[in-house]
């Protein structure tokens, strides 16, 4: 007997509505013949049968909405030998050549080996896998048979893999992992992963569908009982930020280079135009749009800083879309100024003011926080002189702007008072070497120091 399950039609999808059975119980069905239809978010999808046989039982009726991987029906495989495995098996590789096309073991090649859209048979290693999980496993050389799934029906989720990878870092590695150099003697640089806790928790493989698979790892189970602590769940935004930051640190080889920039010219220009600007545009003129403008000039000269990494490919972006980190009351968001290189200082300042205001009033559209190719963070506005920002994935660099302060500086062997600012560029050393990063930052510096435009 083969279970037919509700397939996952996309990474963010946790459930689907069964809209129509195309076969009745007792009907014969060929493998890959459309068996039923599901609906998710205005998309109707025909689901082909995972195997040839007779539709034995309809478990989920038309019109019902169920979680992914819920068994919706059963097909009896009358024709073949009765070798069909029972329900969920642990790690043992399926003995018989599986009837479904799904290739479950994690062979490093075969990027396209993912199964047909749809109904997967639940007798595989650990349930169907999302493309993301597959990709992570491939990239990190993980044997999926060793990972315990905690998702619906014992399915392996991204969290499981992350937990597994974190756990793998702790004990003496069972075998040398593939990444370039051999593991260094010191503990790995990822302090982000709390060291002490048992990160993945084997759970009895009960069939527990329905509930959302994305439960947080059950770790701090004892904190609640400790005196002097208060337990408060993270907001969704906090969780997303946490996830994104750790993901970024794990993905990119972060290096930060810092250049000292003389902003005196711009400080003077700004002083001169400030009042007029405020009167004319209703927003104050800051240093940020000048830095942005200088950065777009440098990005145009060094397109690799405006790129992304995809496996072993370098993705060059045609457009220069700059994300601006905006601090919120309880978090952070990075709205994007599209085609920032096409705007002058006035346009950039207004875009910054508009995006920041709408970010704080939570009125950004989803597409306004997507598609960035480079980011700028202005921690100087909080008094920081310099910091080492974290790259906003999938970008490869972020420019941090320190506060502009008057300092004594040696100019032509005399001491002068100049408005100085530290620019910190964090770059991904996978793609960008130090020399290029410094050429890039040097270009930003030279544009700022020799600012020529009197007209903004």
């Amino acid at each position: 007997m083969i279970d037919v399950v509700m397939p996952q039609m996309g990474e963010s999808i946790v459930e689907g509505t069964l809209t129509k059975w195309l076969k009745k119980p007792g009907d014969h069905v060929e493998r890959d013949e459309p068996l039923f239809e599901i609906s998710t978010d205005k998309v109707d999808t025909e689901i082909p049968s995972p195997a040839a046989g007779t539709l034995n039982e309809i478990v989920v009726e038309e019109g019902k909405t169920v979680g992914i991987n819920t068994v919706v029906g059963r097909i009896s495989d009358g024709a073949s030998s009765g070798a069909a495995a029972p329900a969920v098996q642990e790690s043992a590789p399926a003995p018989a050549p599986a009837p479904a096309p799904a290739s479950q073991a994690p062979p490093p090649p075969a990027p396209q080996a993912a199964p047909e859209p749809v109904a997967t048979v639940v007798e595989e290693t650990a349930g169907p896998l999302s493309p993301l999980v597959r990709k992570m496993a491939r990239e990190n050389d993980i044997d999926l048979a060793k990972v315990k799934g905690t998702g619906a029906g014992g399915r392996i989720t991204k969290q499981d893999l992350e937990a597994y990878m974190a756990a793998r870092l702790q004990p003496p590695a069972p075998q040398a992992p593939p990444p370039v150099a051999a593991p260094p003697p010191q503990p790995p640089p990822q302090q982000m992963v709390p060291a002490q806790q048992p990160v993945y928790i084997p759970q009895p493989a009960t069939a527990a569908p329905q509930t959302a698979p994305q439960t947080a790892p059950q770790t701090a189970m004892t904190y609640g009982e400790m005196p002097g602590v208060r337990v408060e769940p993270m907001s969704i935004m906090r969780q997303k930020i946490a996830e994104h930051m750790v993901f970024s640190k794990r993905t990119s080889a972060h290096v930060t280079t810092v250049h000292k920039v003389d902003m005196t010219r711009i400080a003077k220009l700004r002083e001169k135009l400030k009042g007029q600007f405020q009167a004319q545009y209703g927003t104050s003129l800051t240093f940020l749009p000048f830095v942005l403008r200088a950065a777009t000039a440098a990005l145009r000269q060094y397109p690799i800083v405006n790129a992304s990494v995809d496996g072993t490919n370098i993705i060059y972006h045609r457009d220069i879309n700059i994300g601006i980190a905006v601090a919120l009351e309880n978090g952070l968001i990075v709205p994007v100024i599209r085609n920032a290189d096409e705007k002058n200082v006035v346009g950039l300042q207004r875009a910054i003011a508009d995006l920041a205001a709408r970010a704080r009033s939570r009125q950004l559209r989803p597409d306004e926080v997507q598609g960035g190719t480079f980011s700028i963070t202005n921690f100087g506005s909080f008094g920081s002189v310099f910091a080492t920002p974290v790259i906003n994935q999938p970008q490869v660099a972020i420019l941090g702007v320190g506060s502009v302060e008057k300092e004594p500086v040696v100019v032509d062997d005399a001491i002068a008072i100049r408005s100085m600012c530290y620019l910190a560029l964090t770059f991904d050393h996978r793609l960008i070497d130090g020399a290029l990063a410094d050429q890039f930052t040097g270009k930003v510096k030279s544009v700022l120091e020799s600012w020529a435009e009197e007209v903004l």
Partner: protein
């Protein structure tokens, strides 16, 4: 030096043929889509993007509710409106003159195996294209389609078989909005609007050019405009 590398758009390996077939009856367009889907599944053709305009027709999706068609069959017939039940997602909608109907026949295995990402992608294409005509459109959570403060401006309904898409979207350019009175669009009691109603005089051809370009960008497809070539089936 990396600085000498020409900036290129990411991953353009896939092509997409685009055609504007003009006025085509709903039934005929439906059969045409079927053929294209089958050929796309067999890998005989590249991704296709077909633009049409339908004569007055009310169509009902797989999840449609008859009560959302406000007019009786006789009334529809008297008003010269056809009625079709169809296999796309979504409830009831109206198509007619002044509307750009786009049918992307895409193999999502060549893009992302994600139906929600696909629908969000179509929304993005529409939002960006409308932006080029000065219309600020948005998504509304839980209500697929593209919206302006004045109402819904584009509807989306998709069918997928073996990851190959059919059906698509309908954008109101200068549709006679009175025809929507016969239905409750998508089962939502919300107003509908059009580019014309929002003050844009954009011509169908201009809008199609914008849609083509944004489709290419959002879905990383090289657009091959075949408008002047007849469709070979």
């Amino acid at each position: 030096m990396p600085s000498t590398v020409l900036p290129s758009i990411s991953k353009i390996e896939q092509t997409c043929d685009v055609r504007d077939l003009g006025r085509v009856g709903y039934g005929e367009a439906f059969r045409l889509q079927r053929t294209l889907v089958e050929r796309r599944k067999r890998g005989e053709i590249a991704d296709q993007l077909v633009f049409v305009e339908h004569p007055h027709v009310v169509t009902m999706g797989r999840n449609g509710h008859q009560e959302n068609v406000l007019a009786s069959p006789e009334m529809l017939e008297r008003a010269g409106i056809e009625f079709h039940s169809t296999d796309r997602g979504g409830d009831v909608t109206y198509h007619g003159p002044g509307q750009i109907v786009g049918y992307p026949i895409f193999d999502l295995r060549q893009w992302k195996r994600d139906v929600v990402a696909y629908v969000r992608g179509i929304e993005q294409v529409l939002i960006d294209s409308l932006g080029e005509f000065g219309i600020r459109a948005t998504r509304v959570a839980g209500a697929t389609g593209v919206w302006t403060p004045e109402g819904k401006i584009a509807a989306i309904g998709v069918h997928i078989s073996r990851w190959v898409t059919s059906h698509g979207f309908a954008l109101n350019v200068d549709t006679d909005l009175n025809y929507f009175r016969y239905i409750v669009p998508c089962g939502l009691f919300k107003p509908v609007t059009s580019m014309r109603a929002l003050g844009s005089n954009a011509a169908r051809e201009q809008v199609i050019v914008a849609l083509e370009r944004n489709f290419g960008r959002v879905f990383s497809r090289a657009i091959l405009s075949r408008t002047t070539e007849p469709l070979q089936l």
